[in-house]
């Protein structure tokens, strides 16, 4: 369970941003997590109260939007949805694809009380 470490890293960023804006608190943190990121949104939710206790974000709401996996095929050029362990082209079946969405683990925005 590395979600606690991920959560602590995220809170370091949030704390820094809050300090830069002279914020007194954080209302909401929005993350975007893809199914191929290696991080489970549910476990992040569980880790968040532990990691945020005593920080400026202790009372913040953690919101997580998930990102579907999409791949673009090098062979036929189509962009299709894919599964974490099946990243082949949904159109022609070739495995020479690139993930265009679904592996992100992003801090999108924070709402600060100033």
């Amino acid at each position: 369970m590395h979600e606690l470490a991920v959560c602590q890293g995220m809170l370091d960023q949030v704390t820094r941003i809050a300090a830069e804006h002279h914020a007194t608190g954080v209302n909401r943190i929005l993350l975007r997590i893809g199914a191929l990121s290696g991080v489970e949104p549910e476990l992040l939710h569980q880790a968040f109260p532990l990691a945020s206790a005593g920080t400026v974000a202790a009372d913040a709401e953690l919101a997580i939007e998930t990102a579907a996996i999409r791949v673009r095929c090098d062979t036929c050029g189509e962009e299709t949805e894919a599964l974490p362990n099946r990243l082949i082209c949904g159109s022609c079946g070739d495995w020479h694809t690139r993930v265009v969405s679904g592996d992100e683990m992003m801090l999108m925005s924070v709402d600060l009380t100033t």
């Binding site: 590395h2 370091d12 960023q13 941003i17 804006h21 290696g38 991080v39 925005s109 600060l112």
Partner: protein, 267 residues
């Protein structure tokens, strides 16, 4: 950093994207990776390796897949050809570092306590105990775990995932994140294939390709010396490529001053 996904918006310039809402609160758009601090240190580690022309290789696998045995056999075969050092990650014990030191190369053991992976900070601390200037290859043996190590950049040039044939040929389908990230997949303990009827190397390869990963897949047995020449060939190719690049970059550049700090207690 790029200009397409928004990762160029940093804490330093995030105030530009800040805006007040109706309640007097500010919504700050960040668009930054959750592990950006780890990634920053990883980039710093990479700069250390590049400055000295040292190839850094991150070895990942489940516990017991044969990472340390691979290192022992590799050191035995190549220690006259390359100057090698090893960073070992485990939850507890110095056992693996002791095995590597017994082969005559420096090894730094990182004991992570309960942490299930190495991160860039731990590797950075270990780097300060290694004489990078004289090395050709640093192997980083990650904590045995097919899940968490995949999420943390260390600054290595190449990531290798080992899959021992006793684990099952569908592991890449079960743990896609770590196998998708691999630059090389090593099927280990292949001498045991003769007595296993449920591991099909071709099926393992199909599972890796289904992750859209074109990485070479080599079949080896470190203990029996099978397929090791192919592995050494891959390693020589990578060292050669890095040396060629770094000599190009280092022309007319003075050696950067090393950043040393007091040892943290462990050897």
């Amino acid at each position: 950093m790029c200009d397409t996904c928004g990762c160029n918006i940093t804490p330093g310039n995030a105030h530009i994207a800040a805006r007040k809402n109706a309640h007097g609160d500010s919504a700050v758009e960040v668009l930054q990776g959750l592990l950006s601090e780890n990634d920053r240190i990883a980039a710093h580690n990479r700069a250390h390796f590049d400055q000295h022309g040292v190839l850094a290789v991150n070895l990942m696998s489940s516990p017991g897949a044969g990472k340390t045995a691979l290192l022992e056999a590799t050191i035995d075969a190549l220690k006259d050809e390359f100057s090698i050092a090893v960073i070992e990650g485990d939850l507890e014990t110095e056992n693996d570092a002791a095995r590597v030191r017994a082969k005559g190369v420096p090894a730094i053991q990182i004991t992570t306590g309960s942490a299930c992976h190495l991160d860039a900070h731990m590797v950075h601390d270990a780097l300060h105990h290694l004489p990078l200037a004289g090395l050709d290859i640093v192997f980083i043996e990650n904590v045995g775990n097919l899940v968490c190590p995949a999420s943390f950049e260390l600054g290595s040039h190449r990531d290798i995932t080992l899959l021992s044939v006793t684990e099952g040929d569908d592991k890449p389908a079960k743990y896609p994140v770590i196998f998708r990230a691999a630059d090389l997949v090593l099927l280990t303990k292949t001498d045991l294939l003769a007595v296993l009827d449920d591991f099909d190397p071709q099926r393992a390869e199909q599972c890796v390709r289904a992750l859209a990963n074109p990485a070479p897949i080599l079949r080896i047995s470190a203990r029996r010396g099978l397929g090791m020449e192919e592995w050494f060939k891959w390693l020589r190719g990578e060292v050669g490529q890095l040396k060629a690049q770094s000599s190009k970059f280092r022309v007319h550049q003075p050696e950067p001053a090393p950043v040393f700090r007091a040892p943290a207690g462990r050897p």
